[in-house]
Symmetry: C2
Subunit: 346 residues, 2 copies
């Protein structure tokens, strides 16, 4: 596997039990990811040791509304990459998890199709009930998979909410998936989603109404063209407007619109080719540097926030917090005054 | 208007220019909401002064996937409340705004239907690009509307993402809207969404396939029944498991399943009645206290986080942050080491 040749033989700072992940051991990899996902004791040591080895994978974000067949498309795309001799990791972010803790229906199908192939690694991310945490742990898991030598990392998010979009925002290539017949109101969402899309896919293109969906998207692409795209990190702490690098090739990327039938594999090879074309453009145009600045800023900010929260939690007395919540509920104190009382000790 | 009689005549701590909102002045109300939404200089003073006057409105969260006709349903529900003599505020949270800054298509229709009625106030929330901020500013805007005397506050979120769900989690009554024919994958989402639903509405019930959708939901309700529901605040800083109050009536609420055709008004009166029944149950069972504890904890935590971020930002030198982001991008430093360097000065 070409991925194996990219892997560093060893990383001196990585705790010994995780070292085998650098030479393709899946159990060590799964353990490391669990540590990172749970923010367990070894998480920081793992990430510190692996971060310098990351930066070679191409990260592909795939998002879209429920019902568009994203999971099937991601599975088909993974198969396409395997046929091309590339190693693939899939990170599926599941927004239903804060409630059920369960995995998506699509997962079981996917596991059957891809299981047994050592060049594929699939991980479903449960969410831990807070938004920043989801974004952070996804980024951290991607870092581990990247350092472990996977050449393409597919980050799949279900839903059209902000948290999901925030996650794909840090991908190198973002694929937005649509499907025919999901209702007219979806059009309003599309207008927004186009601003994060590098590639637009109408999946289930064998269904009736596909041409209407394609036409509607083409109209939106037409409307949206012309203005330059600026990538921003929208963090509270760090504001990064990535500067435009000196252009050596076309500085704008025209969003490609593709039709696929993921269930039969139709159009999936073309999608794979378009992703590679986008990757080539990113490197040649200098936009790759921009996107990685945004990604670095987001990683840094997530850590800063988590550490601040940890320090605060360690210093606040739990009893006074419960009392203050109750006082706020009864409206004997307003939440701002309560917060300042808590922070006075900090 | 009965709302006017509930309003406090004046609040000594409220800056004078916002005082008229307590006696029904819409311009003063709109100005106060803008201050709060933008976290502008007067925001904290407004919220401190108004918080003690809040707590009388019934807050109704309405969520569901795009294409379910939520906006039309919310408009019809508002009309229902107006006919019953109740004042209504609508807060529409728009997830597309981080990209386009634009309002939803449904908004224009709604404005035509409800405009000119002094007993209705409609506000579309733009998002400011960060997740915590959206949740906080929605909560703050609800506090202002509550203090201004609106008796029913409808918080509408588009999408099925985490941020949207986090917002409705703090409502008194949560209505989840479905519609026929939105694809089988939606079923997976439903399994999760049921855990936040107090009422389940199949809108567009005149479309084909409605009975299949109703059956699927009934099956899920059947599966989900039995276990007690625990409401939690999933914050990083504060963990609140609201204790069960001593039961005086049934301690569990059976999720009602309703059919509506919002466009014709069919079923909307029944929905209104079910919301009132839920409100009565919340008060009698003691669950209202639980939900308000969760809400208080969330308000407090949001303020704590924002204040921590502000303090950090004020102390960090901007230049070293830009340099560190660049170093992280180039992988000459890992983000954890970078974060600790930044925090060393804090």
């Amino acid at each position: 596997l070409s991925a194996l040749s990219q892997r560093p033989a060893a990383s001196p700072d990585l705790p010994p039990r995780y070292q085998p992940l650098l030479t393709g051991n899946r159990l060590a990899l799964a353990r490391a990811i669990s540590q990172v996902e749970d923010a367990a004791p070894d998480a920081v040591a793992i990430l510190r040791a692996l971060y310098p080895h990351s930066g070679r994978a191409h990260i592909i974000g795939i998002t879209g509304a429920p019902g568009t067949g994203k999971s099937t498309l991601v599975t088909a795309l993974a198969q396409h990459y395997r046929q091309a001799g590339l190693t693939v990791a899939i990170v599926a972010v599941d927004p239903t998890s804060p409630f059920t803790g369960g995995a998506l229906l699509g997962d079981r199908v996917r596991m059957r199709t891809l299981s047994g192939d050592p060049g594929v690694f699939v991980r479903s991310m449960a969410t831990r009930g807070n938004l920043g945490g989801l974004s952070q742990s996804t980024g951290d898991v991607v870092t581990v998979l990247d350092a472990a030598g996977f050449e393409r990392i597919l980050v799949e998010t279900v839903g059209v909410g902000q948290a999901e979009v925030e996650i794909v925002r840090t991908a190198h290539t973002t694929v937005v998936v649509e499907a025919p017949g999901l209702g007219d109101e979806v059009q309003a969402i599309k207008a927004g989603i186009l601003e994060i899309a590098d590639l637009l896919v109408v999946n289930k293109a064998d269904l009736p109404g596909v041409e209407r969906t394609v036409k509607a998207l083409e109209m939106m692409l037409e409307l949206g063209r012309g203005g330059p795209r600026t990538i921003r990190h929208h963090g509270v702490l760090l504001q990064v407007d990535a500067p435009l690098a000196q252009p050596t090739v076309a500085t704008t990327w025209s969003i490609a619109l593709l039709k696929t039938v993921a269930a039969t594999g139709e159009g999936v090879a073309e999608l794979g080719q378009q992703i590679e074309a986008h990757r080539t453009w990113l490197q040649a145009s200098g936009e790759l540097t921009q996107r990685e600045q945004v990604r670095a800023a987001q990683l840094l900010e997530n850590i800063l926030r988590a550490e601040l929260n940890r320090r605060l939690l360690a210093q606040l007395p739990a009893t006074s917090m419960v009392e203050l919540v109750e006082a706020v509920r009864q409206r004997t104190v307003d939440p701002y005054t309560a917060a300042h009382q808590l922070l006075a000790a900090f």
